[in-house]
Amino acid sequence: MAEEERTQVEILEENNLIDMTKYITYVSAPQAGGIATFAGTTRDTFEGKSVVELRYEAYVPMAIRCIKSMCSSARSSWNLHSIAVAHRLGSVPVGETSIFIAVSSVHRADALDACKFLIDELKATVPIWKKEVYANGEVWKENSEFAERRLELGKDRICSGRKVEVKAGDRKTCCGSKVKVDG
């Protein structure tokens, strides 16, 4: 299908920087009036502790499968043109980008809403892990989004393959959207 060709998923091996321009160029199209992007970067502190870097690892084949699946879910809820998702593995020092998402659509609302959905869904379902490294220790982080979704994941034998419908008109910012999930 044509839409499959306009979804790019990349898991970048260690020491490969994310080229945001490349992904923005990928999703750009004459008919797409809006491009929404999200870049996740390594913060310098967590609960008062100085962060040296984040170190990422992934169950790569399943992560790719999950990301493709969540892109399909996004397409069934919003009218999208192209999607690009890239995630780095290995060390990501403070200030650098670990994850980048770009979405294009004819009208901006679809791209903006889908972009938010994709990062939220990635944090809840995609098998990628990060270790937060401090000067005097390191700890595996845990996404609260995963904890909330955990019991559902195992039940339906899926990898984020369920279609998610967003009620029209629920355009609140930040954690306010109602999400109806097909049973």
């Binding site: 992560a63 995609v126 892990w129 990898c159």
Partner: protein, 105 residues
């Protein structure tokens, strides 16, 4: 030809009398992040009796690596790259992954 007869004889010798379809399955278990820390392994072959569930696999793993108890309540299982639950029966050559709490993005 004689070759055919020999093959048949060999096959019969291998057939176990009681159970059908072989009595054990061999799977591969993958350990990530905290699970890898606790076991010291990235992967492990595991042999189980035919008809075993993912729960049976977990039980066997915890018996061998008691420290895995730490993440039992917070992790999820994946079978052949899809999230699964404890009651699924594993097949020969399946890949079972222990998925501790994720933190992508």
């Amino acid at each position: 030809m004689d070759v055919t007869n020999i093959e048949i004889k060999t096959k019969n010798a291998e057939c176990k009398p009681a159970e059908n379809k072989g009595s054990s399955v061999q799977i591969k278990v993958l350990f990530f992040s905290r699970a890898r820390d606790l076991t010291g392994l990235t992967e492990l072959p595991l042999e189980l009796s035919s008809g075993s569930t993912t729960q049976d696999c977990l039980n066997k793993l915890v018996a061998r690596f008691p420290s895995l108890e730490e993440i039992l309540g917070s992790m999820v299982l994946a079978l052949n790259e899809e999230y699964t639950n404890e009651s699924v029966i594993v097949q020969d050559k399946d890949e079972l992954a222990l998925i501790p709490p994720i933190s992508g993005g």
